[in-house]
Assembly symmetry: C2
Homo-oligomer: 215 residues x 2
Amino acid sequence: MVIYRTDISSQHDRRLHHMKQPGMLELPVLGLLKERAMHGYELRKQLGAMLGPFWQVSWGSLYPTLRRLAKAGAVEKLADEKPARRSAKSSTTISAGRRKTVYRITPRGEAMFTEMLEETAAVVDAEHFTLKLAFFRYLKPETRLALLERRRAYLQEKLAQFKTNLRDYRERIDSYTLSLQNHSMAATQSDIEWIDQLIREERSIEGGAPNPTNA
Amino acid sequence: MVIYRTDISSQHDRRLHHMKQPGMLELPVLGLLKERAMHGYELRKQLGAMLGPFWQVSWGSLYPTLRRLAKAGAVEKLADEKPARRSAKSSTTISAGRRKTVYRITPRGEAMFTEMLEETAAVVDAEHFTLKLAFFRYLKPETRLALLERRRAYLQEKLAQFKTNLRDYRERIDSYTLSLQNHSMAATQSDIEWIDQLIREERSIEGGAPNPTNA
DNA sequence: TTCGTCATGTAATGGGTTACATGATTAC
DNA sequence: GTAATCATGTAACCCATTACATGACGAA
């Protein structure tokens, strides 16, 4: 129910490895599979470990994502054959193997991952931004800075909107709603400061020594 | 893609004015119409004024909500007849009236509103909680406290999960992800403190003087 | 007369949630 | 031997998003 402006700068729209509007999970799934092949169950655990307790992915969300990625040629399913470590109790060897489907990323998937990660439009959405940030190590410092600054500008814009909003309507809203908006504003402000910190860190590792500090 | 536990205490499930899993907008729309009848366009503006710039409701979300509410008998559509204030320039009076559909809440809608507002399960979701808080003035202090405390418990639980999560995986996550989780934790902590403040205020206006402070 | 805002919707599409269904391993 | 966890999906339903379509009204 929340709208985010996606209209800003709809330039560079031709993507090589198309996938119109991927779901939320495509990026982190590819990002995790980039490190090593995994099966769905573990993917879910790693997602939680990486993103924290607010990101509990459901099966009905994860597996369809994997299916979509497989259809797009971004991942391939491997049968993790580790059959009958003990003795087979029944005589029928049929259906003995085939459990644990391992998903492995393909070169195509790697390309899609990079493309999704670099795209700057989606950072206005908090969750998309979070997901990108979780894989920032795969980006060049300049791209990281671009994403951070875009996110910052968005938050700043929202902050300004909060202020004009309160200026226009303050007398008409009750104390609970006011408290709500004040808390939201404070949270947004805190987000901005966090982003600023990230930008500062990025600059310090990027520039090295832009100012004359004894070369 | 985020899962919230709804399993906790599935007691008192029989709702009088059923509407299985209403969308997000049902509550605030009814809440605003409770104050006065409005048409869709204004509803959207009020929603934004009340909830802040992160809540920009789209038409494709608002009108279907109104349609659903109308079908459920919670609101009724009135034709806001304010035709031809000036002289009618064309001779055909046909199609002169009928613009601005005003929506008015029904007694049934009022009942649904109260029911949705009092329901405690949904407060685990941040957005649902926000929407309830925006209409807290319609609740009894004790119900307000119950909702606040439930929300607080949920956040506290998440905070604990953050900690065990970091304890178990800290060495495996990179600096960006760590920064992400730390910021999330801080935000959650800040949310808890905010809730605590609300609880304190609630108690002070509720109790009056529980401690001997010169009666 | 043209632009911006007011104003009301519909249609397609797609992803997420919930619930369902099933079975193998491991730990106690 | 039984409970918990591991493990893999499917199916239905529904809401939100996005884009589309249309038109009146007021001001410049």
